[in-house]
Each structure stands twice: as C-alpha cells, then as structure tokens.
Subunit: 370 residues, 4 copies
C-alpha cells in the first residue's frame, strides 16, 4: 500500500519542519460530499481520515473511489475520534447546529456547509462556543474563492466602479426542490455571501415575497430585497421552477458596472465603462441626468478550483490561527438576512429591520451545551 | 399635388361603399410621435390631418417628412377641429387626463399612450365620460399587437402550459431617466399589460420596493410583485441603470413553460416542454416532487409591425363600434397596479390590496368637466 | 413649397463662401435605392435631383416619400442632364459598366454599387476613362465606413495585433438567391473589401469551390481561400442556404486577435489578448509552441450610419479632388479576387494566380466608348 | 481488498450464465487515457487489467486513482499478455499501425483512437489482418455515440430534412498544436466521421488549402471541401489559432436544416423548418426560387456519456461478433479523406479524386507482419 498512502505523510517525512498536519473527518456524503472529499484530499497539510454517512450504499461508493478513507455510519465516530482535528459538516441544515455544537464542545475545528444554521440564535451560540474553546469555526461559502468574486471585490475595493449603487442577482433553474428549506435558504446563500463579502455597509432591512406551488408551504419562487441606509439596494430572484438556468448578477456603480454571468465558460465578468451623474438644475427646479457608455473589459480570471481554495483556507487558518475569508461572522450575517426574509414572507412582504450583530451574546457555554 | 394626395381619398373614390374614413389628429410629436404618424399614415381608412406640438423645430421636422400633414402648436387646434374624428394623445402622462377629457367632451374618439393616466380615479372618469359620449376610448399598449404576445396568449388560453403558476419579467437598460414618473410607471406598463392580457384572474395585491439614486425622489430601480388569490405570482424587475439591455419574461405552467426574449431577432418565444408535479407521500409525511424536461419548440411568429396593428385596431373599432384588444379597461387595470406599487414603495414594501374595479363610478359628467 | 425646399439651398444662401453644391442623380430604385436616396438627401453639400427606375410603381413609391425629387424612367435622362454633376449607379452588376462608361464619358462623377463590374477588364477601362476625364470614380463598399471596420484597421495599422496571420469570414443566411451572380459575387464583396482595406499585402492567388443546388449554374454555396506570399491566409464562407444568419469575421495576429460579429447590437468587435509564439528546440529537433490567453477588450465604436459616411466621402472627394476611402482601385481589387474565384470554381478549385494590377492598361478612350 | 475488487467479478458470480468477460489492456495514458480507463472501468462485462505508458509519472497517477489496475511501461507487456483479450491503442498516430498490427497478429481484438492510421494503406492492411485473424478491429470515433449525432442521423435517415444538400463544419479554438499531424488530421476526424456516418453517398473528391504559421510545415489552419457526385458538398474549417472556441455544424436539406452547436449545454441540435425549392420559368428563361422559414424544434437528447457508449459497443461487438457503429471501415474512410486532403494541400488546393475503397486488398498476411 506504500504507493497509495496519504500524500500528506509524504510531505511530512520530507519537510520535517513543516506545519502540523490537520486530520479531518467529513460528516455527510451526499451530493456535495464527494467534492469535499476530493478537494480536502488534494489540499495541503491535510489528511482525510474518515467520512460518516448513515447510508451504507454511500459508504460503498466512497470506498470504491477513495479506498484509503475510513467510512463510518455514525457521525459521533468522527466527532469523538481523538485522531481527528477538524470536522466538516455537510448534512441537511436542520442538523448543522447539533453536530457543530458537539464537535466544538469536543474542541474540534469545524467547517459547516452553507447556510450555517437555521437561525441567527444558533449561529451566535456556535460562534460563542468556538471562541470559548479557542477553535476555528468556518462556513463553506465556496463562491468567495472563485476568480470572479475575487476580481469583483478587487474592483469594488479599489473604487473602480465609483460609488456602488445596487446589486441584482438572478439564480433560477429547474429542479432540486428541497424538502426542508425554501428556495431562498437553498439558492440565495451564494449570492448573499457575495453581497456581504463585497459590500462593507451593513444592510438595514429586507423585504421578501414568495409563493409555494406545492402544498408543503415551502416557497419554490421567492424575491428578496435588501435595503441599506445609504441608498444601496440588493435584489435576489430565486426559483426552482424556471425552464432555463440563469446565474446572473449585476453590480452597478456610478462610474462603472459589472455583469457577472457564472454560466459563461470564459467571459464570466464583464466590466462596463458605463456611468451616470446628475445635476440639480435649480433654475428649472429639475434634475438633469447624464449617461455615459464606453468600452467593455473582460478580465482573465484565476481558474483554480474554488472548493480547493476554500479547503486550503480552512486548513491554513487552523494552522496559522487566522481569520478565514469565509468566516463564521459572514456565515452568521447570511443567516441573519435569510431569517429576516422568512419573517418578511410570513408577513406578506412587510419590511423587516435587521438587528445589529454587535448585540452582546449573553448565552453561557452551559446553556449552549444543554 | 395629385400624386401625393392622401392615399385614403383614393381608396374612397374607388370604393364608394367603403367604411367611413376616420380623420385623426395627433397631439405630441416627441420620441414616439413619428412612429404614430408613420403607422396611422399607413393604416387603412384613416387620414392623419394634423399634428400638434408646442416646439416649432418638431413641426419643421414633421413638415420635411410628411408635407401633407398640417402642423399646429396648440393641442386645442386639434381637439376643437370639427374635421377631426379621433384624437391621439402622445404627451407626458401628467397631461393625459386633461387633454383626453377635453377631447372626449367634444365627442372625439381618443387613443392615449401608455400609461393611460396618473391615477385610477382619472382613468375611471375618462372611461365614464367616453361611455356617456358614446365614443371610443383606447390605450396604446403596443405589445399586445406583437406576434410574440399573441402566441403566448394563444398557448395560455389553450391550456398548453397546463395551469400557469408565475410570470417573471426583467426590463432593464441604461438611460432615459424620466423626470415625471418612476421606472415602474415608465417601463412596467408594457409587461403589466401583457400580464393582464394573458392572465384572466384578477390580481389580489402588490408589493413593491425601489430606490432613487438621484435626488428627485423618482425611483430608477424598482421591483414589483403582483399576488393572486390562486397562488399565481408575477414579478417585475425594472431599471434605468443597467449596463446591459434585458427584455426577458418567463411564464411558467405546470405542463410547459415559456421564455420570451424580446431582443432575440428571430427566436423571441421558446416553449419548454418542462413541467413538474407533486404527490403527498402521507406515509413519510412528505411531498414528493417530480420534474420533467423535454423538447423545446420555437414557433414562427407573425412579423407585422405591432404599432400598425394597434392603429388598425383603433380605426376599425371606431368603424365597427367594437371593443379593441387594448381596451380602456385594460389600460385602467394597468394603472391600478402601478398606483398600488407607488403606494407600496411609499410604505416600504407593505402589501397593498387592489380594490375591485367594479366599484360603481359615481362622478357625474359635470364633475369630470370642471 | 418654401418649407420643404432642398435643405442644401438653405445652406447655400447662408454660407455664401461654401463649397460648390453637388447635384446627384441615382439610377436604380430597388432594394438599396431608398437607402441611397435617404442618405444622399441627408449628406452635406449635396442635392438629390432625380432618380431613374424603369418600374413606374417604384417611382410612385419614391414620390410619396420624397416629393421634391424628380422621378424618371430612363437612365439617360439622368446621364445626359446637364444639371447633374454626379451619377450613382444602383442597378444589377451586368449593367454597371455600360451605364458608368456613358456617365464618365459625359464628364460626370460616378459612384457604383458593389461589386464594381463583372470583370477586371471592365473595371480597368472605367478607371482609365475617369482618369482621362478628370472625374471621380468610386465604388460603394459601405462596410469601410462602419465604426467596426475603422477600429479594426486602426488596430492592425498600429500593430496592436502583432503580425497578422489570417482572416476568416462567414457570411451566411437564408434567402435572396440572385439570378445573375453567384453567392460569392453577391456576399463576399463586403468581406473582401474589408480584407483589402485592412491588409496592405497584395494577395498572391485564390482557390475556390462551390456548388449550385438549383439548375441555373449559379453557386448558392461557395468557399474562397485567398493566399499571400507572406503566409497570411484569408478564407470566406458564403451561403444563401443557411437556416441561421451569421456575420462573423476573425482576424488573427500573433499578439492579439479580433472577433468581429456584425450581428451583435453593441459588442461587434472583441479584441482578445491572445497570442502564440514558437521556438525551434534544436536539440529535440522540434518546434515548441507557447500560447497565451488574457483579457478581452470590447471597444465602444462610432455609431454614425455607414452609408451616410460613404455619401459624405463621395461628395467631399468631388469637392476636394481627393481619393475617397472606398476608391475605384479598391473596387477593382475586389473584382480581381471575385473573377479569379470564378475561374477557380470552374476548374474544380485549382489555384488561380492573381495578376498584378500594375499592368499598363493599353486601351484607348476610343475603344472604351465603342 | 474484497470491497474494491473488480465489479465485473461481482457480476460474474451473480450471473453465472452471463456473457464472457472481456479483459482489456490500454496502451497510452496521456490526455485521453484516463477517460478511456474510467469508462472501460464502468463498462459492462469488461475488466481493465493493465495500462501501459513509458512515463513512470503517468503510471503513478494511474495508481492513485485506480489502484486495482496494473501499470506497465512496455506496450508489449500488454500485447503479449495471454490474459488480455482486447487491446486499446491511445498513442500518437504514427505508432498506431505497428502496435495494432502486433496486437492483431496475437489474435487480440483492437480498438484504435482516431485517426485510425497515418495512411489508407496501413488502415487496409490492419482491416485485412483482423479479418484473417477473425478478431474485432474498431476505431474510437466517440462522437458517433453522442445523443446529438444519433438524433441527426435519425432525422436524415427518415428523410425529415428532405434531400440533404450540404454539411458545413467549423471546429476552431486556441491551443494544442500537435507536433506530428496537422490541424485537419487532429480536429477534422470528429466531423468527417459524423459526415461518413450520416451521409450514405460515397464522396467523390476533395480540395484542401491550409497554412502553417510555425516553421515545422504542419498546418495550423486548414480548410477542406469534400465533393459528391450528386451535388452534395461538405466543408470543414479547422484551426488551432482561433481566439474563440467554435464547434458548429450545419446540415442543410431542401425541407429542413440542422444547426448543431456542441458547446450549447442543452440546445445542441436545432431543427429549422426552413427550406427552398425552385422552378424553371421557361418563358423568362429563368429559375424561380422560393424560400420558406417556419418553426424551430430543439429535441431533448440522450445524455449518456458518449465514451461509455463506445466502450460498451466495443465489448458487446466482441461478445456478439457484430459490427460496431464506429467500424474499422468508417475509420478507413476517414483516413482516406484526410490523406487526400494532405495531397490537395501539397498541390495548392488541386482537386484530388478519392479512390474507391472496394479495390481488392492484395497484401498477404505475411507482408503485413514483416
């Protein structure tokens, strides 16, 4: 078996002064699980020790492709395994909190798939617990690691768009009705994480409307508006019942604007040298608006696999005790908007003010562990 | 001048038993005016007698292209001209009511550009007045005369989509900020008229949010949701500040779905043999949803110019005393939704219930004519 | 008629020192004729006096839209009209030579629609005659006046593409089978004129193949390769029997490459920062080739109407006795390639060497005027 | 190792009456090799025993992903392995003949990657040898196993296009200059195999032109026309130096036409209800041509992986001694056209008549095995 042994051990023997290896266990081997295994397998300084899934056919599948990884049926075999340093949770959202709480309580580093939890309360409890235990808690918002999002953040940070005014996202396709969360909780986390990553201003409130076309009260079409005190506005159009797949985002500044089409194979980000300005014509008691359209620029983007970037960020953040790009705070902020959207839908689109996240979390560790 | 005389007189001399000619006057020769003149010039049984515009350079322009049409500066020269049977109003929205009221009071048939009026009250007053005077009142919702909309209505009416579930429209581009109406009043009338034409159910309520990025309190980006008692939902995304032009509408049924892209030169309407169904799995207390994707069909559409179809409908509805496709009632229903959207935006997205249009209009003709 | 008098006379009265007006007559009022009339009507220092077309219904049509222009049935009424300074020939190709020869002999300036003539011999005779008479002879290759072609020429002239290596053009659609010329003579002149305008090197030879699917021996599909001594290559794919319309041209350099899609409403020209280089690896007796792909740039293009630019160039070239952009020499060079393509098709694709255009034309003016 | 044992043995133990397993060895583990291994691993009744590649790093790579497959450095370890029934050759074209000849001589079934050989002579020798040995010889033209090509063949076979008139293919992109074969031998086999699969008429002749922009005399841009006695014409545009990737094929009939765009994720095949017809108008001594454009239909295509279909066809053709879809005869016909294209390029585009493939192959088995 020498040939097939964990490549990380090779690294270890060769570079004796290297950083400590991180042994990870992954809970959940469903749709996303194989991608996680493959990328953590490829990540530096990391050894995938075990994968847990209750379904034996999933474990058989695992065994075929990754014969060196142990398959277990019980998540606790990972959580309580003393050889495992970090636990990755890729199970349905409703189970995130309980699993993560247990793992954190055991002193494990934890990575949770998006969305982080079912409520802000749960998310804040986990953040608090991780702080107390001195371990890393991170959320997998993979899109933050794409070349496209990196480029857009760079452009916004460097004021190349001027003052940004709006973000408009459409993420629609046919299929994959979830049975536990609505379409916003399922699809919007990608776009809200991008919003929160790129826009520094804290959102003020949300409005959301939606409809269910099955009789399970889970919206399959929903629309979300996020309002900001400055006049910035963000809008999200999500659907599981579109005949065409659309993954399109506009980010508009007063100097330049971006069209981000994630389905384009090579021209994902287009930068339009397009802007507008206005003038108060006080004589005529009118506002005069001027437009400008210019060249379009399509930058070449980094093409490294986003999920691998995320995996490397998780491992190196553990090693270097640094804040990862896709932090638990960002994960909480995404949940905060989702939670408010559900509240707004329940009240027929009424504006729901977002509470500040700086409110002191008063739960004690004892409450959390009950 | 024999050669260039009004072609309709030729028709008249040749076909002595023909329908009565309709003499029209057009008020407003701005952006849309030349298109109206050109198409009413080409319409059957119609003679464009005069065009009014306060700007002398516009009348000069008219004279160059249409030397046989009289240009006048005062709208009243058209309204009170006894030789004119029908008045077409292509001026800013805020002037629609006053001009239309005067023309109707004079017993003229009236065609108003979209949106019909600034309020439902104004629209209802005009409808009432037209009824009392026994003349035609019509609104120019040009899109109803396109091959694309006709095809979509046909498909919906013939249940080819199954039960329709949603309509989702995006109409965004850069430019043309209006100074009197917001982006919904400017762009959404097209799509709302299509909605009202295709969907028979009366809408129940609306939610709308929006933002202004100039300091004139006129929204340049706005989002509108129209809710229906049956669970049908319609959503409209309008913007004057998009770097790209998008004209896209989805209409989804449970049997088939339509993608209508008005910017496609030839493939404007695509019909997806795509559907979904659900089953209550009572044992597991779950809903099971099934999808189906199949062929796509792109029908060839009628290519006659929509505006000419509208013009012909106006003329023939006068002659035959019939209800035109783009009726004043439909025009009123569009205004009703727009008015409610403004109310919702003012109240931060709150749901606004649409009043029934069957409420008796109690204003007397005297009140209207004050 | 004061209001509708030729706008140029207004110019004349106001600017007494202005350049001499050019009175033009247009022969042929078919598909392209109205566009010519409209644009010469709008051109500076130009008065459209008369249009000739044998079909009375075409003249009636003219009268409706342009009541100030005289319609005549006989082309000679234009050619021999002493008030007319310049003659525009928009008739079938086979008639170009005879009409142009007569007009030139009368001392008129002449503009001919593309392709210039049916043979290089005819083209050379006309060029010679124009020289002897001291008048302007020009060919309407409208595309040279588009913002897209201007931009591409600028990029090539400024070596932004590096050394250019190939041009590849596809111009296909359904319809408009011509009955006198094959698909290359009909569609390729546009692309060949762009080739000749942008690429300074003289072509060396051509190969062409094609097929006729009707029994009139006129190819409806044809392929043309133009070879250059330097290794540059140009290829043209033309068809009247494609279900889709394609207007696509690639121009490749070793530093950058251009994609020109004339059907794109706004992004007609895309510049790819894409190149390749090679190295002789003498050790391994191999050539090593490296690629590079980078950003894409979409320049904003001038949006003035190309045909108006062409009309203005014709008039000002007459006034200033200068060489127009779309010169008769370029028109001849296009015919030279077309003529060779027919020769190659006739000989089953055999290479046909292009004769130099510098051969002295020995015909006397007497021979030409026979 | 029980868990990871060859799944085919599981099949074997369960279905004792099943068809005989086929043990395969694969020679060449370069760009395409891993795809072959993965798909033959997944194919029914097949066990991948060994892979040969001279480069040890490739074998290490193999070992990581497929620990149960033996890696060997010498191709002969596969060819002369008595446990191996079938040999798959995925090496550079120049080596195909020698390897295949040895394997056939050993009585192995053989699958060769496209293009089959460097010459028709080699291909015919192999076909003859396979016949004498009574084993299967097949060429991997993967595209024949795609849903798109199957659908197009069905439409042509069922005369839904009417009489087919032309095939026009563009296969261009940047990169992957080959050092042993030109761009036609590299890219065109895909399209020529589709041509030969769909069109039953034997081609009559070819014309080809091309250019090399490196100094190795290997064309990086080339154009190929294939002529047919009936008037059908096929054209292929291939390039390694295009800034954009294009994979587009048109197939035109007189009743309907197909656009096949392999880069479209879902709408690969579009069927245009577009046709034309002509009439001899003997009076005017002219041909009158009529067009018709109608609906477009986009059929849903089978989405099974083409390479797996090819693998299953190879295995089942061995088992059932049947002719595979991608037969050696079709492979030979592709080489025949490629060989003629090289001849035509060498003679500056001259037409090269294709020899009939029915000429008796007179080589004896002894000559072949030298």
């Amino acid at each position: 078996m020498e040939l097939y042994m964990c490549k990380q051990w090779v690294d270890f023997f060769y570079y004796s002064n290297s950083k400590a290896m991180v042994n990870v266990g992954i809970i959940g081997y469903g749709y996303w699980g194989p991608n996680l295994v493959r990328n953590f397998f490829a990540a530096a300084d990391c050894c995938v020790k075990a994968v847990a899934d209750g379904r034996s056919e999933r474990l058989q599948q695992l065994g075929k492709v990754f014969p060196t990884i142990k398959g277990v049926q019980d998540a606790e075999d990972i959580i309580y395994d003393p050889d495992i340093d970090a636990v990755i949770i890729a199970t349905p959202v409703s189970t995130h909190f309980t699993l993560a709480r247990k793992a954190l309580a055991e002193g494990k580093h934890v990575l949770i798939e998006k969305p982080m939890t079912s409520s802000t309360e749960e998310a804040e409890l986990l953040i608090n617990l991780a702080k107390q235990k001195g371990v890393l808690l991170m959320v997998d918002h993979t899109f933050l690691y794409t070349g496209a999002v990196e480029k857009m953040k760079y452009l916004v940070d460097n004021k190349e768009l001027g003052n940004i005014k709006y973000l408009d996202s459409t993420r629609i396709n046919l299929g994959l009705f979830q049975s536990d969360i609505n379409v916003l909780w399922d699809l919007a986390p990608h776009d809200i994480s991008i919003l929160n990553y790129i826009v520094r201003e804290r959102p003020y409130s949300v409005n959301a409307t939606g409809i269910t076309h099955t009789n399970n009260n889970i919206e399959n079409i929903a629309y979300l508006t996020v309002n900001y005190a400055s006049g910035f506005i963000a809008h999200f159009n999500c659907s599981w019942t579109s005949p065409v797949k659309v993954r399109m985002m506009l980010i508009g500044g007063d100097q330049k604007m971006i069209l981000y089409n994630d389905l384009e194979p090579t021209e994902k980000v287009k930068i339009y040298d397009t802007g507008y300005s206005y003038l108060n014509d006080e004589e005529k008691n009118k506002v005069r608006i001027d437009y400008r359209t210019g060249d379009i620029h399509v930058p070449k983007l980094a093409t490294t696999e986003a999920l691998l970037g995320m995996a490397n960020d998780f491992i190196s953040s553990i090693q270097e005790k640094k804040e990862p790009k896709s932090s638990c705070q960002l994960g909480l902020d995404v949940v905060r908007i989702l939670e408010a959207s559900s509240e707004s839908i329940k009240h027929n689109g009424r504006e729901v003010i977002l509470e500040s996240s700086t409110s002191p979390v008063t739960h004690t560790i004892q409450e959390v562990l009950i």
